[in-house]
């Protein structure tokens, strides 16, 4: 006997209870605290903050817990919360030259003012699983510099810029666009592209950046500088003639410099690709810088031949919240359209068989 499907509401509620149970796992194991995630999975927290486009470590940690460690799901939670927040104004551009540097390296100079500061990096670790981490072993305390100084170090691109060897920082003309408040139109200006890349999926940008290194839009990049640390955020208040500090953010900045042989309008010089991401997110900042440079092809008079150079392609597809939603929406019922296609396929097959049958009869005659 046929029984129409009913009771979606109860089924959904039951599924959600099961989800909550699975999230908790075995109750004999202590529950993860948000503080533990915040402290011990801090790079996951940073990724969720960056792609969630909301600087709030605690909410990002909570989202990771709620999402059972699914970072794209956690990013989605943070984005959905972010939508509900009012916008009070635009801050002044942060000055990464005044960053309290925790890490700063340059691949283009052996040494430079301020030195190479490795900081907390996986670089040069041997990737050997460490069974000691199964236990409660506490790490040895790290050495601290005798004179940490102020932390402020000149940016490598500023050092190069003095000699005119590298294009200058682009002039800022007023308030930058904001793709969360205005619909995107193509071609998008660079600051909007950078916003999209900063919110974009790390894996997607990594693959695209990688493709530029393999000849799809070859741009000869050098990592002029990667720096990570805290910067001050300030806002101008109408009626006051000084800016007001709002707080500090940890960010990772990557400046790639690229060879450029010059064009009719511009002399030969190094050009830049730029990456700036919340938290400690070096892979993302580097991939972003590679993509930014590739997307400047038209502006610099280069041929647009590769996926990474195609602004509409990259910007339309880099957002993992959009991508996951649309890919996963295929789970929703589509039986009405499928019915329409089923009817069409049956009809096309019947026509096909008629033709085949006709030919066979002709052949037999």
């Amino acid at each position: 006997m046929y029984v129409a499907v009913k009771g979606g509401e109860a089924a959904i509620a039951n599924a959600h209870r099961l989800l909550a149970e699975r999230r908790r796992g075995d109750p004999a194991v202590p529950a993860l605290t948000v503080d533990q995630i915040l402290q011990q999975l801090s790079l996951a927290v940073d990724r969720v903050m960056g792609e969630g486009s909301l600087y709030d470590r605690r909410l990002a940690a909570l989202a990771i817990k709620q999402a059972r460690g699914d970072l794209v799901e956690a990013i989605f939670l943070v984005r959905a919360y972010r939508t509900t927040l009012p916008r009070f104004g635009a801050s002044l551009p942060v000055d990464t030259g005044k960053m309290a540097v925790e890490r700063r390296i340059s691949a283009t100079f052996k040494d430079l003012p301020g030195g190479q500061v490795l900081g907390p990096t996986f670089d040069y670790t041997h990737r050997l699983l460490d069974p000691d981490l199964e236990g409660e072993a506490e790490p040895e305390p790290a050495a601290t510099a005798e004179d940490p100084g102020e932390g402020a170090m000149a940016r490598v691109t500023d050092l190069l810029g003095e000699a005119g060897l590298i294009e200058p920082d682009p002039e800022s003309d007023g308030e930058p666009g904001d793709l969360t408040r205005e619909p995107l139109s193509f071609p998008a200006p660079r600051e909007v592209r950078l916003q999209a890349l900063a919110r974009g999926d790390e894996g997607f940008l990594l693959a695209l950046g990688y493709s530029t290194q393999r000849g799809f839009a070859r741009s000869h990049p050098f990592a002029a500088e990667i720096r990570m640390g805290e910067v001050e955020v300030e806002i101008e208040v109408p009626g006051m003639d000084f800016s007001v500090p709002l707080g500090r953010l940890k960010v990772t900045e990557c400046q790639m410099v690229n060879q450029f042989r010059g064009s009719a309008a511009a002399p030969p010089q190094f050009t830049r690709g730029y990456g700036l991401v919340f938290g400690h997110a070096e892979r993302k900042a580097m991939a972003m810088a590679l993509c930014d440079r590739a997307l400047r092809a038209r502006e610099l008079g280069e041929d647009e031949t590769a996926p990474a150079q195609d602004g509409e392609f990259v910007i339309s597809h880099c957002d993992n919240v959009q991508a996951t939603g649309f890919v996963e929406h295929l789970k929703l019922p589509h039986y009405v359209d499928f019915q329409a296609e089923l009817e069409l396929i049956r009809r096309l097959r019947a026509e096909f068989e008629d033709r085949e049958g006709g030919q066979e009869r002709e052949a037999a005659e």
């Binding site: 939508t83 408040r181 139109s185 919240v321 649309f326």
Partner: protein, 302 residues
């Protein structure tokens, strides 16, 4: 099902969206109404449900809905498909509005993939969830190009595609999201409704609004707007026909779902519009398989 509450108890604004966002969407809706069939870009927000799951329709509904509205939500024509249930309970929670499954009681109907069978009235608004609003997208993936094609009213590519179907199959092989032309100007995607529903779009007394959240577009068909499905003089537009009536209520001339009953090829056809089907059964109509069904409307849970 109907539960009107005084003031919804959520930490969010009425109907979830903040007022600034509603203003932005309302401005886009009014421009959409003024330029029927044209896709107005809007700064779609991240909603608490995934992109592709009705965020455009939800944002349009959230910008329209008021305390006096009665909301119906359908997916595939049914009120109790999981996503319809989820969206309906979202609005019951964040707007505290009355909800209904009865088409004629609703002032606002949000839909995915179907137009209700019952003709709509002047006091109703139909909100469609749209995945890909651009009818030319599968012919030309670039927004910069398709925008120009709409500006220049350059729709030759679409006709070529449809004509290729005819050359190959003898008829147009598009069964859903079948493109329409609005008031002789804009080619428009009617959302993935079966082409069976296309004739309901033209000259409707109800306002029809289309929201695409991920693609950030809103478009509209005002009431009494001329909407023509694209076709050729020698190959006029035709809708699907079903060889048998609804097995439950005996309706013909409605869109049917094929339901597989067992693994030896047993199947039946039933109304896709569940409210329409239930209404007919309550009025005493019986399909040829209704005998096996027990009392009308007495379906078991799950």
């Amino acid at each position: 099902m109907s539960t009107a509450q005084e003031k919804p108890e959520t930490p969010y604004n009425f109907a979830y969206l903040d007022e600034q966002t509603k203003r932005m969407i309302r401005r886009a809706i009014l421009k959409a109404v003024a330029i029927p069939g044209y896709q107005v870009p809007f700064a779609s927000r991240e909603m608490p449900m995934p992109y592709g799951w009705g965020t455009g329709g939800v944002q349009v509904t959230a910008s329209l809905i008021g305390p006096d509205d009665v909301l119906k939500v359908i997916d595939q024509g049914a009120d109790d498909t999981t996503n319809a249930v989820s969206i309906r309970s979202f609005f019951a929670k964040v707007a505290g509005v009355k909800t209904t499954t009865h088409t004629k009681e609703a002032s606002l109907i949000q839909t995915r993939h179907r137009v209700p069978e019952m003709p709509l009235s002047e006091n109703q608004i139909l909100v469609y969830q749209v995945p890909i609003p651009e009818p030319l997208r599968f012919l030309e993936p670039r927004e910069t190009e398709t925008r120009l094609m709409h500006a220049l009213e350059e729709y030759g590519l679409m006709h070529v595609k449809l004509y290729e179907d005819i050359a190959r199959h003898g008829h147009i092989a598009t069964t859903y999201a079948y493109p329409v032309k609005v008031e002789g100007r804009y080619v428009m995607d009617p959302s993935p409704i079966p082409k069976f529903d296309n004739p309901k779009l033209t000259n409707s007394p109800a306002l029809q609004l289309f929201g695409a959240g991920r693609e950030k577009r809103i478009y509209a068909l005002p009431p009494y707007t001329r909407v023509e499905s694209l076709d050729f003089e020698d190959h006029p537009f035709r809708v699907q026909e079903f060889s048998e009536p609804c097995g439950l209520c005996g309706a013909s001339g409605v869109y049917l779902d094929e339901v597989i009953l067992d693994d030896h090829g047993g199947r039946m056809f039933v109304c896709s519009d569940t409210d329409h089907c239930e209404g007919r059964r309550e009025a005493g109509h019986r399909g040829h398989l209704a005998g096996a069904m027990g009392a009308p409307g007495a379906e078991a849970a799950e």
